[in-house]
Amino acid sequence: MNGKKLIELRGITKAFDGEVVLDNISLDIYEDEFITLLGPSGCGKTTTLRIIGGFETPDKGDVIFDGKRINDTPPHKRHINTVFQKYALFPHLNVYENIAFGLRVSGLKDEEEISRRVREMLEMVNLRGFERRHVTKLSGGQQQRVAIARALINKPRVLLLDEPLGALDLKLRKDMQNELKGMQKRTGITFIYVTHDQEEALSMSDTVVVMNNGSIMQIGTPTDIYNEPSNAYVADFIGESNIVDGVMLDDYSVKLAGHTFVCVDKGFGKNTPVDVVIRPEDVDVVPTAEGELCGHVVSVTFKGVHYEVIVDIDGFKWMIQTTDYVAPDTDIGVKIEPDAFHIMNKSEYSGMFGDYSSFSDELDQLSENGGEDD
């Protein structure tokens, strides 16, 4: 990042009732950055956000804001505002007063100034004419907009967003993603965004922080995270991926599933066991005679843009995304380009992910929605 460092988390540890939810987290957040904390339920992303907002105090470690330690600064003294997960709009106030709340609390008495700034905010979130509406009578998307306007009216240095789009339907989510990104660029406010939706994280962020079990797995740009995942966990969490056992024979040469491929990675030494990530869209389907590997088609699912094909290669189930139809229960060959291989050192997550033998969309959704709020 080219900007100035705005927030530093240094060795943050937090436990609830003896259960460690954040384990020695360190993270730098820059001015004008759109940073996303991404991870499954219970990974500690919301707790991290609450520590930055001042709603939790870390057991160990320091929170530095603009060069000053703010561990013990209460939320109302921080130049940070929050868009809460379920909006937390004040039900006793109308749209206008909800948005004006921050100004009134700060002691601003000039009604004209208040009115001007509330209208400016309403304009920004496309809610012109909604001033007198009661917040409980608004749709989810409209409440969301009021929550954003309310949080931005005090011109905070940082805006925290806790799964703000979680309750919206798909179409609205896509629109709001674009709007939020636009707002961040226009206002120049640092956005810290929490989500479990990898696609949302990749499409909006400057920086993505992948978290799991209270630890940071990887920090990087969306393309880095997608193309160069640091371990099997990240590779699996960020999109579909086949994660195959392999051996790095030498620089630019990797052996997997009994075949030696040319790749673009180096520096792993000779005959080193590694994890190899191959994204489903990077595998080409060819006739068996031309294939580098051969496999048996287990299932084919039409997904609109492409077919999702599960192929059994030597007992390992691969996922392949292809625009050409292949018939189920036939043999096919596959070819993989050298730059499609991503080589990772073995980690504690090796062998846990990346096989599609028990794959189903439903299972995926269950595990996504099953957890608690965090």
Binding site: F55, P74, H76, A88, F90, N94, E97, V105, R132, R150
Partner: protein, 284 residues
């Protein structure tokens, strides 16, 4: 078809409501009509406004004023005690909240006659409090048979009815709203004034109703702790229905006026709270 369906449903609904309607007519509307009938008739059953006009002699006006004043003071004291208590309760951990609410409920399970008698023995000139005061050399204070003793009795008996509705509303306030207000710059006091108070107003209104109404019409507390040195409306009404001065017609007139008085106070209060919440919208 559809029209018949709805008519059928309407009949069904009415049939289902009939026990309630019969009940209301028998035990609420009919007695009210009796009260009105007695108010405007004399012993011979002839129409008269004598009962009502007699109310506006200084003696009875004073009784009404006394009753309203004592009930008002008791209600204010209850509110002052109950509001912070309810707030503290609502911010406790769930387990402690249950225990705290139970402690408030226990006095309600005891017959309030017994509670009132206990206060008699506490407040008597030779009672426990005065004995203690004497022992530590402060000298006794005359407490029983004073308006103060009556107010103490009212507050003690009706305080739970103030705490519970306020607590119920407050515990329903989402913790996230308090966090949101802190996030937007509210310190502890501002959080209370800007979020908790306006959101708990409905609890305060029902609390006031539930304390003011029984306070203004009580006769037992004022008899036992007031010792007959002064009369409240409740005592006066009672005296016309039992005992030597029995007069249903005048007693009914007193009850009717008391009822109207209560309805007016409720209407005023509701109007006040409505305009409070309406004000915010008008400001835009």
């Amino acid at each position: 078809m559809a029209a018949r369906g709805t008519r059928g449903q309407g009949l069904m609904a009415r049939a289902a409501a009939s026990p309630h309607i019969v009940w209301s007519v028998l035990f609420i509307i009919a007695p009210l009509l009796f009260v009105v009938y007695y108010t405007f008739t004399d012993a011979d059953g002839a129409f008269t406004t004598e009962n009502v006009s007699r109310l506006f002699t200084s003696n009875y006006v004073l009784i009404f004023v006394n009753s309203v004043c004592l009930a008002f003071i008791a209600t204010v004291i209850c509110l002052v005690i109950a509001y912070p208590t309810a707030y503290l309760f609502s911010r406790m951990k769930a387990k402690r909240q249950r225990a705290a609410v139970l402690l408030i409920m226990i006095p309600l399970w005891m017959n309030f006659l017994i509670t009132t008698y206990s206060w008699m023995t506490l407040l008597e000139d030779t009672g426990i409090i005065n004995s203690a005061l004497r022992r530590i050399g402060l000298g006794a204070a005359h407490m029983i048979n004073t308006p103060g003793a009556v107010v103490v009795g009212m507050v003690f008996c009706f305080l739970p009815y103030m705490i519970l509705p306020i607590y119920t509303v407050m515990s329903g306030i989402d913790e996230k709203l308090l966090e949101a207000s802190a996030d937007l710059g509210c310190n502890g006091w501002q959080r209370l004034v800007r979020v908790v108070m306006p959101m708990s107003l409905s609890g305060v209104v029902s609390g006031i109703t539930m304390v003011f109404v029984p306070s203004i019409s009580t006769f037992y507390i004022s008899q036992k702790l007031g010792g007959g040195t002064f009369q409240l409306i409740g005592d006066t009404i009672e005296s016309y229905f039992v005992g030597s001065a029995i007069n249903y017609h005048f007693g009914a007139a007193l009850s009717l006026v008391l009822m109207v008085l209560i309805l007016i106070s409720m209407a005023v209060m509701n109007h006040y709270t409505d305009s409070e919440s309406g004000e915010r919208t008008k400001m835009v």
